[in-house]
Symmetry: none
């Protein structure tokens, strides 16, 4: 949009980036509002600028409500709050401790996320770098493990399906044979059926969607050769 085509890439010129951010931000907010009104949708939009400034949009219901709904939706594991009530006296102490711990952990987490690095010394930075590097190694290893599991499972299923296909192929053959015999009985003057329907390539590499005449429709739906969704889920989910 605008005078020149734009590449989907970080705008290096700081001024331009800021101006574009301002303009596009208002555009985005407008669009968010429009879809919420036009389509009766609930929309929550959060934008942090590079410098950490917050901008947000939420339709009539406030952001908090949307976020709650979101968490409810995505994390059905809403933890039933662990309320082992200790004695009242130690509450304040407990509370303060908890707060302090939360702060420490959060500060740590920021560092893990590469934020607030100004307060760290060279040594600490190097430590952090090492930790993140090793974490990345673990994550990648886990990713490959997952992929391997999915692959071997798919291979298993593949084998199973091929066996099923072979059996069905046999059945189809038998049916055709029966049919041919019947035809010979009831109409002895007719020619023998040609053989070109014999092996419909079940179990081969290429399947086409053309229906195999002679198989009954129930079996056909039951043995659809298209991979069911649940088998692929592991790879994308």
């Amino acid at each position: 949009m605008g005078r020149g085509r734009v590449q989907l890439k970080r705008i290096e010129n700081k001024i331009n980036r800021q101006v574009t951010f301002s303009k596009r931000r208002s555009g985005l907010l407008k669009k968010a509002h429009e879809i919420s009104v036009l389509c009766d949708a609930e929309v929550g939009l959060i934008v942090f600028s590079t410098k950490g400034k917050l901008f947000e949009y939420a339709n009539d219901s406030c952001m908090e409500r949307i976020l709650e709904r979101y968490e409810r939706y995505s994390f059905a594991e809403r933890q039933p709050v662990p309320t082992a009530q200790t004695s009242m006296g130690s509450w304040t102490l407990e509370h303060a401790k908890l707060k302090a711990r939360l702060e420490v952990v959060q500060r740590n987490q920021k560092h893990y996320a590469g934020e607030d690095l100004e307060s760290l010394s060279m040594k600490e930075l190097q430590n952090l770098e090492g930790q993140l590097g090793s974490a990345l190694k673990h994550i990648r290893s886990r990713k490959y493990q997952l992929m391997h599991e999915s692959i071997s499972m798919l291979q298993k299923k593949d084998k199973l399906l091929q066996e099923q296909n072979n059996q069905l192929s046999k059945k189809v053959k038998e049916r055709e044979k029966e049919l041919a015999e019947q035809n010979q009985e009831t109409n002895s003057s007719s020619f023998v059926l040609p053989q070109h329907l014999d092996s419909p390539h079940l179990g081969g590499e290429a399947y086409d969607n053309g229906e195999v005449e002679g198989g009954n429709s129930q079996q056909e739906t039951a043995t659809n050769t298209v991979m069911p969704q649940w088998m692929l889920r592991h790879l994308n989910n």
Copy 2:
């Protein structure tokens, strides 16, 4: 946009509303992505359709991280609330909330450290990988920034010291000259001192540790050419 002008009002025709929702939703997500890339912003977008289906966008860092940042940001605004309440009942609530948050954050942190990855899906793993990658980039960038700062500071100091050395070198020369003249006055029969002590290469590129005879010891310690500890602190601390 499109064939007809549109009113900012709920679309009554159900079909049209659904179609428009689908189209605008993808448009909105695209725009959100664009601004996040072009302007280096952190964007989180949550959309619930009328029928309650969830759609979301979050740039490289996952939605959870953005929401946490959001809560951290808006925490300040919500501060006055708990202090005003103060009834015992709300205290337990606060406490429970705090506890839950701590748990969430700690679980997150484990993931950042590459632990407890079994519960994560492929998509989440890839997100995490991206986050850690970007964090590492920030950390390395900060490291290099620190090193550059240290280097330029050292260069500055180096220049300063060289100037001091030059001045001191001059002084030494003068002293020697004075000494020579004194010697001539008090002992006119002695030879003139040889000149090989003249310029001990101060201000040149290479310094050796050989002491410069003739300088007085006080000045010598003051202008020690070994880098003082405070100058190196940035690099190791």
